[in-house]
């Protein structure tokens, strides 16, 4: 039976997104780093002995679960057939928000889109289009995301400044009217006024 420590290691490595350093495991489990390495090697051996479809590897300075190389063909098919080939509208909208509003937290994205963005943000991060750029200094220290170099490359941009500026952002006609009615503004006066200040006479 796996000891409590090994069970904890398995649980941590299953949830962790990045390789976990032995020192961190040692600290969490109040064991020496050497003891951690012993336990991990034991686990790795057990998985190999039981011919598991996954392996426990030491990679990039830490331990990590990975799929067993023998099964790469299945994983490749899963990647090609299982994943959607194009960005969903929701994912593109979320990516656009990050592009224009970065650095931005997931909560702020959810506020703008009005729906939960955790799953979409995770996918965008895994595909390498957004990354953690900072931590919100405020309470909760939420992760702040920004777009990556890969994002710029894929869109053929040199820098973010080349994104179409928002200045010529013009809401659609029906949105303007609804908002004006909502604000109780007399549409005839408002559109005249607005026209002068150039807010609404955008391209149709």
């Amino acid at each position: 039976m796996a000891g409590e420590a090994q069970r904890a290691i398995e649980a941590i490595l299953m949830v962790a997104d990045e390789p976990v350093a032995p020192q961190l495991l040692a600290q969490l489990l109040e064991l020496s780093p050497d003891r951690i390495e012993e336990l991990c090697d034991e686990l790795a051996g057990a998985y190999a002995a039981e011919d598991r479809g996954f392996v426990l590897l030491r990679v990039a300075g830490g331990y990590r679960f990975q799929s067993h190389p023998d099964l790469a063909p299945y994983v490749e098919r899963f990647v090609l057939e299982g994943q959607s080939a194009r960005l969903s509208a929701a994912a593109l909208e979320t990516l656009a928000i990050v592009a224009y509003k970065q650095p931005v937290s997931r909560a702020q994205m959810a506020a703008i889109r009005g729906v939960n963005v955790d799953a979409v943000a995770r996918t965008l991060q895994q595909r390498g289009f957004i990354e953690e750029v900072a931590r919100d200094p405020g309470p909760g220290q939420a992760i702040l995301y920004g777009t990556t170099r890969l994002f710029l490359e894929r869109l053929g941009l040199d820098s973010l400044s080349q994104l179409p500026p928002l200045a010529d952002f013009v809401p659609g006609r029906e949105v303007v009217e609804t908002l004006e009615r909502g604000l109780g503004v007399d549409t005839s006066a408002a559109s005249a006024g607005a026209a002068d200040s150039g807010i609404v006479d955008g391209s149709e």
Binding site: R86, L92, E93, I97, I112, Q126, L155, P164, L166
Partner: protein, 254 residues
Amino acid sequence: MGHEVQTAVFEGPFDLLLHLITRDEVDLWEISLTGIVDAYVAEVEAMAVVDLDAATEFLLIAAILVELKAKRLLPGRDEADIDEEFALYEERDLLLAKLLECKTFRDAGDALARMASAASMSSPRTAGLEPRFLGLVPDLLAGVSVADVHGAFIRASTPKPVPTVDLDHVAPIRISVGEVVDELSASLPARGPITFRALTEGLANRIDVVVRFLAILELYKSGLVDLGQSENFGDLEIRWCADATDTATIGAGA
């Protein structure tokens, strides 16, 4: 009725009523309602921001209870006719059913919370693809242009217009009773006795007739006109009977 206030602010009037009844074994009929209202006022004062929705909803509940109670206290209740009694029961059953339904979903909500906290003990693996497979992933941004990103941002950040009820088609009432009263008190003395039908012929829409009728009642109330009706459903005869001095008061009053 010094009942200790629960930490959770009472969200809905039904919740509060449920709480006050179930917890205090309160029988609304034996004691006065002021106990309930005082408890709620204490609640409202305790709230940093008064939630108008909850407060107004409470008034609805309090009103129902006062009405139910008043019916009971009025003398001669016993020979009140049966359907009056039945209506009272029906109202109470409706309120009882609402309270039961509210309690059902409150308990169901607690069960969901317990399930959620149990499930949160186990966290999912979200590590995702190993680097070596990333190259295989179809380029999700293939064919996505800068303009698409711009359009997507506009779509995402455009405020969704809240559907509002459009009242433009409802014609606003243009004339008020006061104006018609002044108009009649000026024209009636000269015209002598006249029937209401004659007074209102030629008026296009019904609202004007109604306003005119209200004006006549106003004048009658002030004793400036005398009303008569020779037979059932006959024409209403209007006779101006005040001298000039009284008209001044009417103008201010209406």
